[in-house]
């Protein structure tokens, strides 16, 4: 279950991922992100339950980010697990994504 839930909270779409995001699961993440962006809302991707993510998973996040930017929405990461952070850093993408410590902080953050 790579995509645990997709909910709406305070005007934003929260996509919670979980488990192992590898080549098998990445297409599901990609689809979930692109679908959620159809709401034209900013997206928060919760990574707290992610135990494994590799280059395929990262690629899905990047595609989501690019699609969001294209329609002038933001896609930010929330509660990035230690594992996910390590891989983002290896890819030197930790500065490309906006990363919030947790969901409450992310929702409190000024929109835009």
């Amino acid at each position: 279950m790579a995509v645990a839930s997709v909910t709406e909270q305070s005007g934003r779409t929260v996509v919670a991922l979980s488990g192992e995001i590898d080549m098998e699961e990445a297409p599901k993440v990609r689809r979930a992100l692109l679908d959620s962006l159809k709401q034209k809302r900013d997206v928060l991707v919760d990574l707290s339950q992610v135990t494994y993510i590799d280059s395929s998973g990262i690629a899905s996040l990047i595609e989501g980010l690019q699609a969001a930017r294209k329609q002038k929405n933001d896609l930010a990461l929330v509660s990035v697990s230690q594992r996910a952070r390590r891989v983002l850093e290896l890819a030197r993408l930790d500065k490309v994504f906006t990363i919030h410590a947790d969901l409450a902080t992310a929702l409190a953050a000024a929109k835009g």
Partner: protein
């Protein structure tokens, strides 16, 4: 300066014999340290001796265009007076190389009356003797107005000839000595500067090093420089630079810049910051109008990571295997122009690529109207394809010179061959690679090339890594690398078609070895290129992850048609 020895007073001593006078004059010239002073004294003596009103020595200037008065004796000082060569009685003495006796100056058509008009002196009679050394004329000495109104006699002529000859020799010797001293001093300075510069260049002893440079100065000293040295953690600091201008000034600025880089490069680990500091230092000391273009950076042979900053230098050439070469241009200004200039660090993962730096002496290599340019250099690098980078650089220069290309500038090349770094890692792996002990063979797995199997394989690898004593983070890294390697096989080796993957896991004394094999046609490791990380698009980051988290990643050659075998090694800290 010591007071020059006065000439022995010939008149008082009754030295009217030309030979004795000549001897005294020669001694004085031999002892003197101030040739002008001695010439003036000699002139004063001859004026007294010949009982004339005035005397002067004229020397040809460098262009041989004018005769300029170097010393004078008499009521008016005409030192500095210039007479066009060939004019006047002195001019005639020089032109005809013969002594001139003129009894009535104003009746002689050759007389240069201009001098009298300028000085108010009235010339009546003239005696002028040419001065020459060997066959070349250097000037003439003349005396004016015999006091008793008598004409100049033979004795007067002989005495003046003696003065002319001795003075000519003394002046010529002094000039030669001055030139020699100046030349020697300059030569010593140049040799010293060249020596210092040679010591500033790296030794280039290791032909298998992934970085190598060469510098061919056009003169003894150079305005170019390059350097590279290894830091304690294995990172290599490098720089190439070109000082505007040539000669000693440029070479001194080059030496200063190279020394600063040597010094700062050991501690400043951010190329942009290093450039800012260098720029400030050079701005503070540089003479007006000179500047330095430079690229400096840090290269990690272990990962292929390269960071560099470019201060107005020719863009580096990035040569990826099987890709068109690209130039990486810079917007930052050269060093030494504005103290506040901003520099930026650019980053790239070479991943087996070559990174070529040069000075414009290389790109401006000419053959007739044709200029080599970056494209020509790009082609020439492959002259010695397959050879170590040091040999390839030499081959570039040799090939150009053999083909008759000429450069008017110093030429410097500096190149990093990340492919060689990978090879040297591989070679080390080869020698260290013991045949795994059967007892250390943990397990083998065979599974279809299908993303759905990844999840099933990971727990086994996790268990093996933990069994080898890796901590949680290291274990996760091993899983990441293994997963990426398997995904690469699925996508690149089998092209998402059906196939089989075999995994063997071995325990090593200091870590873990994974051997992952496919049975697809051979994969050229150089073709599995991670994309540029700066270029944020979805795509394969996998190879980059593998290199970043594993200690060794090596394709082990298999016979054609036998598939590919990738060996991954993770060592314990």
């Amino acid at each position: 300066m010591a007071e020059p020895n006065p000439i022995e007073a010939p008149v008082e001593n009754g030295l009217t014999d030309p030979l004795e006078f000549a001897a005294a004059l020669s001694r004085s010239f031999a002892q003197t340290q101030d040739i002008d002073h001695t010439v003036r004294q000699a002139l004063a003596q001859i004026v007294a001796l010949l009982r004339v009103e005035a005397g002067a020595i004229f020397l040809l200037d460098e262009m041989q265009a004018n005769l300029v008065c170097r010393a004078s004796a008499g009521p008016v000082d005409v030192t500095g007076l210039s007479v066009p060569n060939g004019s006047g009685i002195v001019g005639r003495a020089v032109a005809e190389d013969s002594i001139q006796v003129v009894e009535h100056a104003y009746q002689d058509q050759g007389f240069f009356a201009e001098a009298d008009r300028k000085t108010g002196f009235v010339t009546r009679s003239i005696l002028a003797a040419p001065m020459s050394v060997g066959r070349s004329a250097i000037g003439a000495v003349e005396v004016l107005n015999k006091q008793n109104g008598k004409p100049f006699n033979t004795k007067d002529q002989n005495l003046l000839r003696v003065v002319a000859a001795s003075s000519a020799l003394a002046i010529s010797n002094a000039r030669m000595a001055d030139r020699l001293v100046a030349q020697e001093r300059l030569q010593r300075e140049v040799e010293l500067a060249a020596e210092i510069q040679r010591h500033l260049l790296p030794a280039e002893e290791d032909e298998n090093s992934p970085i190598s440079g060469l510098l061919r100065p056009i003169q003894e000293v150079s305005g170019d420089f390059y350097d590279h040295f290894e830091l304690p953690d294995g990172t290599i600091a490098f720089a190439i630079g070109d000082v505007s201008g040539k000669g000693l000034n440029a070479s001194l600025l080059m030496s200063q810049t190279a020394s600063l880089f040597r010094c700062l490069g050991k501690t400043v680990r951010d190329p942009a910051r290093l450039m800012s500091i260098l720029n400030r230092e050079i701005c503070a000391t540089v003479s007006r109008g000179m500047f330095v273009t430079m690229i400096s950076g840090l290269y990690e042979p272990a990962t292929g990571r390269l960071r560099f900053a470019n201060a107005g230098h020719i863009p580096p050439l990035l040569r990826r295997p099987n890709h068109r070469s690209v130039e990486m241009p810079a917007d930052s200004p050269p060093l030494g122009i504005l103290p506040g200039s901003k520099y930026e660090t650019e980053e790239v993962n070479l991943d087996g690529a070559q990174f070529i730096l040069c000075t414009d002496g290389v790109t401006e290599f000419r053959f007739g109207d044709e200029e080599l340019g970056t494209e020509g250099l790009d082609m020439l690098i492959d002259t010695a394809r397959g050879k170590p980078i040091a040999q390839r650089l030499n081959a570039v220069v040799e090939e150009l010179q053999r083909a008759g290309w000429r450069s008017r500038d110093d030429l410097t090349l500096l190149a990093i061959d990340d492919g060689m770094a990978a090879r040297s890692v591989e070679q080390r792996a080869e020698s260290e690679r013991d045949t795994p002990d059967p007892s250390d063979f943990l397990f083998g797995l065979s599974f279809p090339a299908d993303p759905k199997r990844l999840k099933l394989v990971r727990p086994a690898i996790r268990a093996a890594a933990e069994a080898c004593g890796f901590d949680e983070n290291e274990t996760d890294d091993v899983l990441l690398a293994a997963g990426e390697a398997i995904e690469n096989i699925i996508v690149h080796a089998y092209g998402n078609r059906r196939g089989e993957i075999a995994l063997a896991v071995h325990r090593m004394a200091d870590g873990l070895m994974l051997r992952i094999r496919d049975f697809a046609p051979n994969v050229d490791p150089a073709k599995i290129q991670p994309r540029k990380l700066e270029d944020v698009r979805p795509g394969g980051l996998g190879t980059h992850f593998i290199r970043a988290v594993m200690d060794d990643a090596t394709f082990i050659p298999l016979p054609d048609g036998e598939g590919n075998l990738l060996e991954l090694i993770k060592r314990k800290r």
